[in-house]
Symmetry: D4
Subunit: 211 residues, 8 copies
Amino acid sequence: MSDSVADLIDRLHEEAALDHPDEETPDVGIVMGSDSDLETMMTGGERRGAYDAFVHELDFAEQTNYRDSPDERFTFETYVTSAHRTPDLMTAYADTAEERGLEVIIAGAGGKSADLPNMTASIAYPLPVIGVPVQEKSVDSVIGMPTGAPLVAVDAGKSFNAALSAAQILARQHDAIRDRLVEYHEELRESVGTVSQELHDGGTPLFQDRG
Amino acid sequence: MSDSVADLIDRLHEEAALDHPDEETPDVGIVMGSDSDLETMMTGGERRGAYDAFVHELDFAEQTNYRDSPDERFTFETYVTSAHRTPDLMTAYADTAEERGLEVIIAGAGGKSADLPNMTASIAYPLPVIGVPVQEKSVDSVIGMPTGAPLVAVDAGKSFNAALSAAQILARQHDAIRDRLVEYHEELRESVGTVSQELHDGGTPLFQDRG
Amino acid sequence: MSDSVADLIDRLHEEAALDHPDEETPDVGIVMGSDSDLETMMTGGERRGAYDAFVHELDFAEQTNYRDSPDERFTFETYVTSAHRTPDLMTAYADTAEERGLEVIIAGAGGKSADLPNMTASIAYPLPVIGVPVQEKSVDSVIGMPTGAPLVAVDAGKSFNAALSAAQILARQHDAIRDRLVEYHEELRESVGTVSQELHDGGTPLFQDRG
Amino acid sequence: MSDSVADLIDRLHEEAALDHPDEETPDVGIVMGSDSDLETMMTGGERRGAYDAFVHELDFAEQTNYRDSPDERFTFETYVTSAHRTPDLMTAYADTAEERGLEVIIAGAGGKSADLPNMTASIAYPLPVIGVPVQEKSVDSVIGMPTGAPLVAVDAGKSFNAALSAAQILARQHDAIRDRLVEYHEELRESVGTVSQELHDGGTPLFQDRG
Amino acid sequence: MSDSVADLIDRLHEEAALDHPDEETPDVGIVMGSDSDLETMMTGGERRGAYDAFVHELDFAEQTNYRDSPDERFTFETYVTSAHRTPDLMTAYADTAEERGLEVIIAGAGGKSADLPNMTASIAYPLPVIGVPVQEKSVDSVIGMPTGAPLVAVDAGKSFNAALSAAQILARQHDAIRDRLVEYHEELRESVGTVSQELHDGGTPLFQDRG
Amino acid sequence: MSDSVADLIDRLHEEAALDHPDEETPDVGIVMGSDSDLETMMTGGERRGAYDAFVHELDFAEQTNYRDSPDERFTFETYVTSAHRTPDLMTAYADTAEERGLEVIIAGAGGKSADLPNMTASIAYPLPVIGVPVQEKSVDSVIGMPTGAPLVAVDAGKSFNAALSAAQILARQHDAIRDRLVEYHEELRESVGTVSQELHDGGTPLFQDRG
Amino acid sequence: MSDSVADLIDRLHEEAALDHPDEETPDVGIVMGSDSDLETMMTGGERRGAYDAFVHELDFAEQTNYRDSPDERFTFETYVTSAHRTPDLMTAYADTAEERGLEVIIAGAGGKSADLPNMTASIAYPLPVIGVPVQEKSVDSVIGMPTGAPLVAVDAGKSFNAALSAAQILARQHDAIRDRLVEYHEELRESVGTVSQELHDGGTPLFQDRG
Amino acid sequence: MSDSVADLIDRLHEEAALDHPDEETPDVGIVMGSDSDLETMMTGGERRGAYDAFVHELDFAEQTNYRDSPDERFTFETYVTSAHRTPDLMTAYADTAEERGLEVIIAGAGGKSADLPNMTASIAYPLPVIGVPVQEKSVDSVIGMPTGAPLVAVDAGKSFNAALSAAQILARQHDAIRDRLVEYHEELRESVGTVSQELHDGGTPLFQDRG
């Protein structure tokens, strides 16, 4: 077995045994099948991603050390766990997720055989898993789980929405997250109102000529 | 305005004002676009549905009177709220959902313009909404929400899984639900193990000849 | 509630109460789900849009102030009313449309969950609504309305044709519009005839070498 | 040339020359590519059709003799005009439609080459034409008209909605039709309200056991 | 009616009345729905087109004057006849085709409503018509003719093959064309043989390094 | 090598050497990939087939003995030549087709890998080959020939139209076939005219009540 | 953990430790995601399956006891190992496959998330795995493996061909299997030859009238 | 017949007669339909190809002279054999493959009529053939072989995986290939482990800022 993968598997099992208090463990685990999915899953891609939603809209922090949590109350962590190149790492991650204190997993994969979200959901059960098809052609594979094997999916490439959905789940217990969700939405609404008024009152040509 | 719809809208607003304790309000609201979706959404259709999952696997009860909750701790309620024939009822339901004490909404609709889950999610925000495309051709319309408008979807017709996913969300706060989810899954696993052993050890022809 | 959206909703209801004469209200209301749909819906995109058809081919003017109509007899107005970010603005627009004197609505939206045309048609009923799928993937969602919920659709991105269709509806009452439609079509025919003759009589290589 | 087709073409041109008053000519012309489309287009098929909408919901009558209109004020007529087997009949019908006093045409065709609605719209221009794809596989061919050639489409097989849309167009001039449209919709709404209340208040099993 | 189109229609009917000998009339008529289809249909596009096949491989000439045929024995002519913008020109072309001495028609159109090949085949019957879907999305509309209405189709954009097929039809009567077809094919075969040998005997890297 | 296939291959080569006069050889060769395609290709299936067109509409006869032609002037013959189970028989048939006096080949195959029409066209070149996709899923494989390899296709399952198209090709040389094609079409037209008149003049309900 | 699954996992690991000679272990392992896939994967379904190919055409036997091999030299074994309900059983099977002496695995699964073949291939690597999509909608998920993760696929439901392909792999080492493959193919060829001759020489009507 | 193709056919038959020992003949034959497929099939395209897998990962050499094998024990050879332009060369290659000592064939073709892999598999039977659809639109044609005609397929454009699969087949007899396959996979695993650790421990922004 290759060392770096074995090291990660050992680490995950050790952390699962630590029994950290909920406040110090990551609330959301984000896994993806390849680091080439990073822009779509997190930030910097064609659309805003989960990182943008969590960090810039919802005041979460990224936890990079399981044993040393950031000051922010709500956190997420990020791993690459390939279903086809490292099935044992994927299994270990899903297997230890609940014990490691995660409340929700966001799992994204591309290609037509986007097995990572599905397998993660099957193994991490009964933790809720939100699947993100990284490409349009990944939608069918991610959403098509058989009866008895729950997974919920968002649209292709919309990891930003997956983060909002994860926050909606956490918000059932944490009013602070609910407040941030509401605040984000009001800003979104306000921006529509402003644009609509400008377009209507100025007329189409003037609106298109705005800087 | 037609009377029965106006009556329901009034009722929902009155209930929202009641401020019932969480234990007495339905935990899950199930809405569908038409009573022709009932078998797919609840029970008796091609596959097992949300009713089967909640009542037969997870010990939930259906709450038919908001003011008089059943003995079971966990409950769901069921309404038809058509996006295209009764947009005001759909709006009233989504608008009052959080105040009426719901924790999750399962919304199902068929056809290619399956707008009910999407509109319900947009209005009931920040409550989590699980969309059920009632037909294969409804999947795109249900899953395709724009960035900033969260909704999670299950596969076409799989309201049973939507119920499991709703329970996974509630289980973050309620260990009793988590235990029922685990128990259900072990039964499922056990049935695979039994069948696998019978098939292998008896051989294909013998297995096919079983009653 | 955000101020700009609330302001717009109030404005729409006030205008609906004004009881302006038909000649002074916009004849066509154009709504879109996002200002990113503007080029496809109006002008400046890959194809000519509704603005080009109305202003450059049919002598309509854009009315930017409901209380102060332009000199041109026939007008349209333009708003952004997002189904998922501002469902209440969308509802208010559709609800007041007939009272505000509109005769036809053109509603465009992109994405796979293109709910705006459908919800606008359901609420503005019995006003005719022409749906414009802003992207190819929006066609199914826009055209797929259930029996009893009328909406007519044009092809993906063809807001120019939606404007022609709206004019065809208005032309049943207004001969001036009918005349403009016929005139536009003759120009179109003439240009085919000219090109066909040039191609045939000059031959393919010569035709391709034209400036 | 075959006699029966030539006879019909002659008849259409003669009627066009008659200059009947609007009240006595059919308001809506319904054409279909084959009599095998009749159930989908009119009545008796999988869904309710245009005949059901016009006759049973909107008080129109079918006019079977151009020279002798029925007592009802609003009427439609029905013809088979195949684009591929009788292109000259199709052309004659579309060519004479406006002169024969039609206000809207509903044109339906099946198959992948559903050319009838498109050609009818191109020739009958500037009359509005509502295309009905008789099969799912006809949708693309019907909706895909090029820029400059307006046609509006409804979903596959939904001739009932095409009739409602035609009535919405006529209702811009005729309050009686508008009133019937509203009345129909209120009945539709009321039926949703009743079913929703029964389902919720009785619960799923009781509702399914209704006769 | 616009002059240039009317002129062309008159011209076609006059030519049909001339009764020219077969050797002097165009053998193949090429029509397309728009001059924007020219590169795909003739030459200069992504692939080689009908012009390339006829002129460069099969020794045909383009006939640009019906009354004055080129020296080459075999010829084709080219027109734009839009089904939706000039249905009467399309009809006149197809109607007069056999009388004008054409043996085969190649008809190409783009978009999802590619009606030109179908209508041309229906009207020009019993002349054989080869349909060219100018875009991938035009294939269904072109190939889907109903039983009793023959048209043969080639793949999207492959007007080059349509020309070869037209030549195969003409070759049943004209050995000179058959010989040119065989000669063209041998060159094609030879080029495969040469490349195959170079690739195999040189190996992949060397082959890729060829100029 | 299996005897029956080898026998057929020998027979085809012997017949090719006979140098029969054109009047005595089959004009059209019909091949299909499997005898399970017979109903779709010939007669007795969901739609009328090539046998129905040739024998019942166009006065062709089926030639079952190459050395002894039927009295009818125009004939076709029928073989099963599977591309995947008997590639050598398929090759021999295509290779000898022109020498055996065939003028056109109609080749049908089902499945997603419908290689028979394509390979037959490539080998029988320069004979024209009309491909019939036996199933909808065979269309892409049949129509998608590369540039330089001509084959013309009809729609899925429409062997009737393939027969008409083959007859259109033969009609360029044989007026008798042209006359039969015209006669068939007039009957088709007449039946549309009759039905259209009955539907319109009787009205929809009466028409539906016809026996 | 459920007992029957744990028992099977233990059993597989014990067998892997046995070090049986190749002649006594199953040559092919067949796994499927559910016993509802049995008819498609093995025998008795719409098409002939892997059981039919192995037992009736290629003289393999089904081995139902790992420790007691049948008399036949070549054998296969059959298990249900669900990716989503029993991921640990699936993992154990794939993990021990090479040590248990298997040479090829045939893995079939249905649904849109057909993960079993893919995960089995990833874990059993470097054993060759042939994936069988049990339904048409499973094809994409099965075939779409990323670069570096080999799996070969057959068409939807064609487990018969998967068995032939597995035999082709084994035939590289075992002439007896090669001989059986050739013999099977000659029978197949012979049946085409016989049918082709009967159809041609008898003519279509006679052939259709055969019992 | 063209010379270069005839020469190659002669060469293949002569080599088949040589009876070279297995160690000196190519183990894998790679054929493609056109030299435009070379980058996808071998090296230098969007993804790594078969050449990269064989030469850079698995220590194979390309054999460019059948009579003079390279020093490396395991080799492949490369030919262009077009199904539609050189069916006789394709047939000759497949026909002689087993006698020329090949153990597996990898056959790739593009377009919708990707017949080369299918025909090669049918003729080279019982040699195993791995089909590579060169484009996404080639997948259906390659995978859809009828029952009784085995071919295994990889995903569109994944010739790299086809090479791994071919090596998996050869590895059943050759431990050296098995070892190289395992070594390659461990490197792949290791790279995932390294990236996963870097991403998690550094956090998303730091990871994205890596050179």
